[in-house]
Amino acid sequence: MSQPAAGRRRTAATRGLHPLLVIAVLVPILTVLVAQGLRQPQTVAETGAPQDAPLTRADRGCPAAPAKGGILVANARPEATGEIELRRLDQEDVEPESVPLSSGATADLAESGPVLVTGHDDLAPGLLATRVAAGRLAGVVCPAPAPDAWFTGLGARAEHASVLELQNPDVGAAVVDVSFFTRQGAVDVPELLGVRVPGRSTYVVDLAQQVPRRGDVAVHLAVTRGRLSATVRDRFERIGSDTRSVDWLAPQAGPATETLLLGLPAGRGYRTLTLANPGEDQARVDLKLVTEDSTFAPADLKQVQVRPGSLVNVHLDKILAREVRKGALGVQVTATRPVTSTFTSLVHDDLTVAQAPPAVDDTASVLLPPGDRTMLVAGATTTGLVTVTFRDADGGELPEQKVEVTPGRAFTVPVPAKATLATMTVARTSVSAAVLVEGDGALVLPFGSPAEVGLVPSVRPADR
């Protein structure tokens, strides 16, 4: 660069801004501004919603009856027809029996042993099966195999003895871990970890024999291999007399903070609510009663504390004897931590177990054993309409009932005498419903929604 040029530039600089200075100011500003344009990519999280797949097979495991009994089988979809498969699990190497099921009809099968009911193809979606005991009213909805099952309020002693019945619908063996929650806390029973149930068989665990305890227990089953359906046969016995009563517990889905237990038989007797807290934090549980008018907490119903990993029996004999007379239809359980609960009544020496029916927002069905039946609907989240259709044993349609439901109240729906199958359709809300059967004793059966389609997880390659 020659001297005169530099001189000219210096003169220019004294007059105005030196161009280099201007650039020195502009470049940093530009750099910062440009950097603001940087895009940070967001992880493309695919929702991964499961896809529906046609259900081609449905299994229901029905426990053995204590003496004689029967099994009600139907399909919630009235158009479904075909043959169901009946496999007796207490007999080895026996070919399954096929039973025709006509459209909308309910089959009443005189089977007292453990039975696997299987619906194929058209009969798989909406398959319903219920074990009913002969004699005093007792029964249970035969469950589908599930990887997890919870049971609360079981006994492992002479006067209250529970028997866990596990059914393996597949050819291969299934393995299950059974864990216990007692009043003293969670208990390990090594011999009940990794219980192997051979293929197509039933396996019975008599708690009173294998894990005798004085207090009630709650049980969690975790299936680690294969598939199992589980039920519990519960027996109360007054020692020194021949008074004994049997009923079943169906598996519960899992602990929840809000539970509604429907079906309180009237009369004198013992009424016990059992709460189990499998979590690691103490749960505070508030109880309310649900009537046709309101949901309220009687003054003498105190808050219950459930320690982590433990179980509590809440005796409601007096309060419920009074309130059921006044119209109480259910107990609402609200807990600060997820708990499981079962309501057990021993009224007129008859054992009745009430468990929380699932919340339903579309359709649900129940098979109706003979007796004096009352349908109970409660737990509506908003005002909505519940339409109930009934069918008789041959599939004939009976007059339907419509109920406008509102939150905070329970509703009763009369059930026609000939009805064997009730199906409710819920519109604009979600409700829980059960049927209280009274006669020689009492029985509560929940409305459930049998799977109509198979859920298949959406599959994609991992991000790694």
Partner: protein, 945 residues
């Protein structure tokens, strides 16, 4: 004792008068002088006939070999006891013969005696004090090159051979050995003669007191004869090979034959690397010349057999030790390395010298007052202990090595997949067209694989050691590079260079950038390597400013190679290279438009950028031809890629594992302050322009959709944060030293103190943060949650794949296929570039919806042996797989994980893919391109040894 001097001449008129004078001026006169002229065309003959009696001058043909000439002379020598052989370019010191005969007297068993040869005309430098031969045929003198004679080798001792220039030999011995081998026309006959003499039990002594000055005219190519032609090197190598093969023991001959052939090829390659093509050609030609005439060697061996094997041990002790060739090899490599690393470092000086030469102002080359050198090592201990900067640098390196402790051992974690078990896996992955990983893939292997594989091979085939070394030495290597770069930049900007203290602060700060950016902690190997290479790359690119066109071109190839390495590890960097190249050319055009017309100005930067795709052809071409082209910007390493924010980018942070933002923000502030002093503003501004270009490139790259987002793989942006940090450091180093001078007196000193504290605090804080540790994702054991027996089984072959499922019915199920030792370093990019195998996904989906034997059979066809449902396993999915025909339950390590085995026998039919001629061609192209670039970027070999 009687002595005949035998002078062999050929066109030696330049030296002959002196030689004859020397011969005639001996303190112990020779008894007779015989000269043999081999067809000289200059004044040699007339000089000889003038000095010697007519009968003492003999004539031979121009193509007479040296041995033949000696024989002719010996015949005419008369019956004298000793023959003193001299060349026409070998001038004996007046006392030479005296000393030789004294020694012969003292050692009556000596049969051959030789003088100490000193260089002519320097007269002081030692050429030879006896000579021997190494196992590779190298002439070993035991002297340093250019060593001065200070009497350090003045002991009479036995040697294998002495040079024929000044050799005093008993006539009887010469005759017994049948003179010199006629097959060795000029070179190497002394070694062969000495070897034969030793084998026959004769003794050769070197007498250093006797001095002969030797011009080595033939060796240096000053004199050409018909026998040497233009290829001195060819003759020397041919003689060496012949001598070794003719004299080696019969037992060692096969080994020697193979070794010499391979060694010669290796030497030829070495000559090619330093662009000495002529020597390379001579090397190969010499090898061919000896090997295609085995009869000559056989005849020579037969002739030598007469002497027997009695003196084997003595001969062996006189030969060069076996390790010597390796030592020379090491020296050669280190010479090349030093020359390569040093060749650009004085671009500042050369520019200044060029300017001075143009303007003619005589000044000394400016040197700063404390001119120590990081890699100089003379008097190192004293220099080290008295130099606080050297002590601090060493401390810095030591502490940084301690900070690197998490990467010891087989390391994995974050974006770093574990290294494969064998380095051959890397080579295979790189060379194969179809990879049996996942569901099979033809995506090109990442371009950085050959670099890692090469390093792993050098380390004895240990890939994990290569990874550990790269990560562990990232800070010291960056320090070295940054020091070199900043020193040259400092000298370019300031005539005196910047203070070593400023260099220390700047280099240590930059050295920590790979770590403080978080790239190191998250296992972002690509970004770390580029951070290490970056200062070397910038340093090479400074060579574009060299005043010499040849050096500019060499800088181009060096830059190309380094840019190729950096691009291989961080593909998006190439695009910044393109942008910066254009900006630089724009700058040149603005300052001097005419310069762009010079091909050596425009060419080098363009060649550097344009040759990168060729150097990386096996990676670039498949991506361009078959896609996905997004791979050309893909961040290397295990997904998900790093996603720095705008602020991170400006403060040189790549991930959240980096140093807190304040550290980088302080650096940014220093870079801003560096713009204040007018003296260095242009340089600081240049750094800012680099940063601006990097920021712009980062933004553009981040906006490009790669189409690989589903795999969590995005364009690599992190490397730009490192470039920006480097720009800040460089700006601070060039700008801040002048800042203190802006304000006079106390204020100026105050500013200097504040800046000094800030500049020192950055590396100290960074180093402390690094040394304390805990800012990394490293683990030594990869855990993919599959049982050990499955991992072992999967090593049996690609057909033993493990399908790993994770998720639930509600959240969806994700799958990976594990083959071999899992997804190892280098496979991540292939998996990211491989589109989803829809058929495999659909098959799996169908299997979960309605399991059939056909579907499970298809799994085995796709090379799946086991299925693992990771903990916590969804019971419904597990139950569904339990009920699937063709799957049997397998054991898992914990109860919440579930596993199945596919019952049908395995088949990897679908994993076998086609080969590709294109890939092979591209690999050869790459090898050739790298070799050419290496040769072109290498230092020039000046002169010959």
């Amino acid at each position: 004792m009687t002595v005949t001097a035998l002078l062999v001449c050929h066109d030696g008129a330049r030296w002959l008068p002196t030689v004859l004078a020397g011969l005639q001026g001996q303190t112990r006169p020779v008894d007779r002088i015989v000269a043999v002229d081999t067809g000289s065309t200059d004044d040699t003959v007339s000089l000889l006939t003038r000095a010697l009696p007519r009968e003492c001058v003999l004539y031979a043909d121009p193509d007479t070999p040296f041995g033949e000439a000696v024989a002719i002379g010996a015949d005419a020598a008369g019956e004298h006891e000793w023959l003193w052989i001299l060349h026409d370019d070998a001038n004996p010191d007046p006392t030479a013969l005296q000393h030789l005969l004294d020694a012969a007297d003292e050692h009556p068993d000596a049969d051959v005696l030789g003088p100490k040869l000193r260089e002519w005309p320097s007269l002081r430098r030692l050429l030879e004090v006896g000579v021997t031969i190494s196992g590779t045929g190298r002439r070993e003198t035991g002297l340093e090159r250019g060593e001065y004679d200070q009497g350090q080798h003045d002991e009479v001792h036995e040697v294998l051979a002495v040079n024929t220039a000044g050799m005093l030999v008993r006539r009887e011995v010469l005759e017994r050995l049948d003179g010199f081998d006629r097959n060795l026309p000029i070179f190497g006959n002394d070694l062969d003669f000495g070897w034969r003499a030793a084998s026959a039990g004769f003794r050769t002594l070197v007498v250093p007191q006797a001095v002969v000055f030797h011009a080595e005219a033939a060796h240096r190519g000053v004199r050409r004869t018909e026998l040497t032609g233009g290829h001195t090197h060819f003759q020397e190598r041919r003689a060496a090979l012949y001598t070794l093969l003719a004299n080696s023991r019969a037992v060692a001959l096969p080994f020697q034959t193979v070794r010499l052939a391979l060694g010669s090829l290796l030497r030829a390659l070495g000559f090619l690397l330093v662009r000495s093509g002529r020597e390379a050609g001579d090397e190969v030609a010499a090898l061919a010349s000896v090997y295609i005439h085995p009869g000559e060697v056989r005849r020579a061996r037969r002739a030598r057999r007469a002497f027997g094997d009695a003196h084997r041990e003595r001969v062996r002790s006189l030969l060069a030790p076996a390790w010597l060739p390796y030592r020379h090899g090491l020296d050669f490599v280190s010479d090349i390395a030093v020359a390569t690393t040093h060749q650009a470092q004085d671009v500042a000086e050369r520019r200044r010298a060029a300017t001075l030469a143009e303007h003619g102002t005589p000044t000394r080359t400016p040197r700063s007052e404390d001119d120590d050198d990081l890699i100089e090592d003379s008097g190192w201990l004293v220099r080290f202990l008295t130099n606080p900067r050297a002590v601090l640098l060493s401390l810095f390196v030591l502490v940084s090595l301690a900070g690197a402790r998490p990467v010891l051992g087989a390391v994995t974690g974050g974006a770093l997949s574990p290294a494969p078990a064998r380095v051959a896996d890397w080579w295979r992955l790189y060379t194969e067209h179809w990879h049996p990983i996942g569901s099979g893939s033809d995506a090109p292997a990442p371009a950085y694989l050959p670099v890692l594989a090469g390093l792993g091979t050098l380390l004895g085939g240990r890939p994990s050691l290569a990874v550990t070394l790269v990560l562990g030495l990232a800070v010291p290597l960056s320090l070295w590079g940054a020091w070199r770069l900043l020193r040259v930049v400092g000298r370019l900007v300031h005539p005196q260079g910047v203070s070593r203290w400023v260099l220390l602060a700047g280099a240590t700060t930059y050295a920590l950038v790979p770590v403080t950016s978080g790239a190191w902690g998250e296992g972002r190997l690509g970004t770390v390597v580029t951070a290490v290479v970056l200062p070397w790359l910038a340093h090479a690119a400074l060579g574009f400013a060299d005043p010499e066109p040849e050096r500019r071109w060499r800088a181009a190839w060096r830059t190309a190679l380094l840019l190729a390495v950096a691009t291989a590890f961080t593909p998006s960097l190439w695009w910044l290279g393109v942008v910066l190249g254009l900006v630089a050319l724009l700058g040149v055009w603005r300052v001097s438009p005419s310069a762009l017309r010079d091909r050596s100005v425009l060419g080098p930067p363009l060649a550097a950028v344009a040759s990168v795709p060729v150097l990386l052809a096996p990676w670039v071409v498949p991506l361009l031809l078959r896609g996905p082209r997004g791979g050309l910007l893909l961040e290397t390493g295990r997904p998900p890629s790093a996603t720095p924010s705008s602020l991170d980018l400006l403060v040189g942070r790549v991930t959240d594992l980096g140093m807190p933002v304040a550290w980088g923000a302080a650096l940014l502030v220093l870079a801003l302050l560096a713009l204040l002093p007018t003296a260095s503003r242009v340089a600081a501004l240049a750094c800012w322009v680099v940063a601006l270009c990097a920021a712009a490139a980062a933004v553009v790259v981040s906006l490009v959709p790669l189409g690989l987002e589903a795999a969590g793989a995005w364009a690599g942006v992190g490397v730009f944060a490192v470039v920006i940090a480097a720009a800040w450091v460089t700006a601070a180093v060039v700008g801040l030293p002048s800042l203190a001078g802006l304000l006079p007196g106390v204020a100026g000193r105050g500013v200097a103190v504040v800046l000094g504290v800030a500049a020192a605090a950055l590396p100290v804080l960074g180093l402390g943060w690094y040394a304390v540790g805990g800012h990394d994702d490293y683990a030594t054991k990869p855990d993919d949650g599959i049982p050990a027996y499955m991992a072992q089984s999967s090593l049996l072959g690609p057909a033993h794949g493990v399908l790993i499922l994770q998720g639930s019915v509600e959240d969806g199920l994700t799958y990976t296929v594990r083959r071999g030792d899992g997804a190892t370093l280098g496979e991540d990019e292939i998996l990211a570039l491989t589109p989803e195998d829809r058929q495999f996904t659909e098959n799996l989906q169908a299997l979960l919806a309605s399991p059939t034997t056909t579907l499970t059979n298809r799994l085995s066809e796709q090379g799946i042996e086991y299925i693992v449902l990771r903990s916590p396993a969804d019971g419904r999915i597990a139950a569904s797989l339990d009920a699937t025909p063709g799957l049997s339950q397998a054991s898992a390590e914990d109860r919440s994980t579930r596993a199945w085995q596919v019952e049908r026998s395995l088949d990897d039919a679908q994993l076998r893919g086609p080969g590709s001629a294109l890939r092979t061609a591209l690999l050869w192209l790459q090898a050739a391109a790298v070799l050419v670039a290496l040769v072109l970027s290498g230092p020039t070999r000046r002169g010959s040894s």
